[in-house]
């Protein structure tokens, strides 16, 4: 009896041996990121050394020159990168906020008050996210050119709200579907109005889900490249576009500098991934697969 129980546990559990193996595999898997972060701390000579240097004297110069450079005459000038970081944060934040408000409302509707053809609507919404962005971007580009939205904050924010809508609707619907309706019905019997049911009963139970959806959408938007490439201007450019442009420099790529930009760009992503771990599966499948 005891023997069989301890054996059944051994099917699910492993000890420090597994930690060592998985730790090694994890480190190898993660090494590309580590190498990039190391490169960010290298001087130009170290970054271009052959054989590549694993040990070197670290410098913060690259991080400084992400934002400021000094000309030969000694004058300091800004690289504009702080504006691009601000743009990335601002545009992603506003786009996600809009998508989340409209998407949560819609998902509550889809979950609680199904329309005729509910599944068709949901399918069309998911398709808007699954189709290659390049398919929509030609007419959007023309539309923005006519309306003058091209290169403006409003345009790209609306676009990112659209981009996150399918994700918000499907994610939030998957959370709403999991809530027990009994509590809501009980509240209705007690005379609570619809607004009260939604704001006082449903939303408080979904705080974690809402946060996960928001943060996930923020990362997706933070990383987005193609829309930003075609529809932002000099003043609204986001970091991914700035990175891609830094790759195309005429005087050769400054790898240390580029690595520093990437390192700064990745920090929020690391933090968020760690926080989101339990919701990651649902997030990456747009709410279609749950744990």
């Amino acid at each position: 009896m005891f023997a069989s129980r301890s054996k059944s546990r051994s099917v699910r559990e492993a000890g420090w041996g597994r930690t060592a193996i998985c730790g090694l595999v994890g480190l190898i898997y993660f090494s590309p990121v580590l190498w990039m972060v190391l490169t960010a701390f290298k001087t130009r000579q170290d970054a271009l050394a052959t054989p590549p240097k694993l040990f070197f004297t670290p410098t913060l110069d690259n991080f400084v020159s992400v934002f400021y450079r000094v000309t030969e005459s000694g004058a300091q000038f800004s690289t504009g990168m702080s504006l691009f970081f601000f743009n990335s944060i601002f545009i992603a934040g506003m786009g996600v906020l809009l998508a989340l408000i409209l998407g949560t409302m819609a998902s509550y509707g889809f979950s609680r008050y199904p329309l005729k053809g509910n599944d068709t609507y949901l399918f069309v919404i998911l398709t808007t996210r699954m189709l290659p962005p390049i398919v929509v971007i030609v007419p959007i580009f023309l539309m923005f050119r006519i309306t003058g939205l091209s290169g403006s904050y409003v345009g790209i924010i609306l676009l990112y709200a659209m981009f996150n809508m399918a994700f918000s609707v499907w994610m939030m619907k998957s959370f709403f579907d999991e809530l027990s309706k009994d509590v809501e019905d009980a509240a209705r019997l007690d005379g609570a109005g619809e607004f009260k049911v939604f704001f006082r009963i449903c939303l408080p139970q979904l705080k974690a889900g809402l946060a996960a959806t928001a943060v996930f959408a923020l990362i997706l938007t933070w990383n987005e490249f193609l829309f930003a490439l075609l529809l932002t201007g000099n003043d609204t450019r986001t970091v991914p576009v700035a990175m891609a442009r830094a790759m195309g420099g005429q005087l050769g790529v400054d790898w240390g500098l580029l690595s520093a930009i990437i390192t700064l760009f990745l920090v929020p992503v690391f933090i968020v991934t760690y926080m989101l771990q339990n919701h990651l599966l649902r997030g990456v499948t747009f709410g279609t697969v749950k744990n």
Binding site: S4, S8, V11, A14, G15, T19, C22, V25, G26, Y29, F30, P32, W35, T39, A47, T50, P51, P52, L98, L102, G103, M105, G109, F110, L115, Y121, L126, T128, M130, L131, P132, I134, V135, V136, V138, P139, I140, L142, M143, L158, A161, M162, M165, V169, I219, N223, F225, P240, A244, M247, L258, I262, F265, V272, Q277, L280, L281, V284, T288, N291
Partner: protein, 297 residues
């Protein structure tokens, strides 16, 4: 009483009310543009010229479908998709088996493996471009020190395809791992115990106990990754820019160049619609299997 507001707040319309704002935004920013480009695909139109559009009928669809270059780009995309998705399935599956059990520090170590899929394509493209760099790139250096020969991975067609596939598979194997892990965790303990009692070999146990619980998720992973890899743009754009020649130009990069470098607006719209059709078919299939899995659960 009557009036607009009470009519609007009628409980019968509650579902429609809640859904409308989201649908309106999607319509304006996505469905309307799609309809517009559908229209454009039947006209002679160039975004870079001031000439008014002229009706062209099915001319551009015929042109696109009979163009050998389009088929070449489809082939390139299919090659990258199949190689990359296959690699992701194998590596993701292996990783899931490693991480299926509980062990100390599992959460922290899992982080290292899960991070790549949360990174931006552009950043990953830049990483790998640096690693492949012939003189000081790490990958080239390691290859040189083992084989003694120089390596310029991105200089040949298959090398460049491998370069893209490695980067994409590195990013997305964790995705497959996550789905397989969800399946592995859902296998009830008593089945393992029964297998133990029956003295099943590890292979028999896998076939009879574990596999039925993960096959549905494997299929979902396969379809989802196929749809997503099909639109591959950023990695190709950054790592190879479609080169050498046009040997790694994916269909998405091809449409981009057609629309924004050559301004063949009508033609790119027609081709876009063919892509849209492919994605709709795949998405339908995916949702069919999602629903089937939910019914079974």
């Amino acid at each position: 009483m009557g009036g607009f507001l009470p009519w609007l707040m009628d409980p019968k319309r509650r579902g429609a009310m809640l859904v409308t704002p989201a649908i309106v935004l999607l319509f304006v920013m996505n469905i309307f543009p799609l309809m517009w480009s559908f229209g454009l695909s039947f006209f002679h139109y160039k975004a870079s010229s001031v000439k008014p559009p002229r009706f062209a009928g099915l001319y551009y669809y015929e042109k696109v479908l009979s163009d050998p270059v389009v088929w070449e780009r489809f082939q390139t995309t299919a090659t990258i998709v199949s190689l990359s998705v296959l690699t992701q399935m194998v590596i993701g599956f292996g990783l899931a088996l490693l991480f299926a059990k509980k062990f100390p520090l599992r959460r922290e170590i899992l982080m290292l493996v899960l991070t790549p899929m949360m990174l931006s394509f552009v950043a990953v493209g830049v990483f790998f471009k640096l690693f492949y760099e012939p003189t000081f790139g790490v990958v080239s250096y390691l290859y040189r020190s083992i084989s003694g020969e120089a390596m310029a991975l991105l200089a040949t067609k298959w090398g460049a395809i491998a370069g893209i596939v490695i980067a994409d598979a590195w990013m997305w194997s964790p995705f497959v791992m996550l789905l397989v892990l969800a399946g592995l965790v859902s296998v009830p303990d008593y089945l393992y115990e029964a297998a133990e009692v029956d003295r099943a070999t590890p292979w028999e146990r896998f076939k009879a106990v574990t596999f039925p619980y993960i096959k549905g998720l494997l299929l979902l992973a396969l379809l989802f990754r196929t749809i997503e890899t099909f639109k591959l743009f950023d990695l190709v754009y950054i790592i190879t820019a479609g080169g050498p020649g046009a040997s790694t130009e994916s269909i998405a990069v091809y449409v981009y160049r057609m629309a924004f470098q050559f301004f063949k607006t009508s033609q790119s719209s027609a081709l876009s619609y063919i892509l849209l059709f492919v994605v709709i078919v795949l998405t339908n299939l995916y949702l069919y299997f999602v629903n089937r899995r939910e019914r079974e659960a």
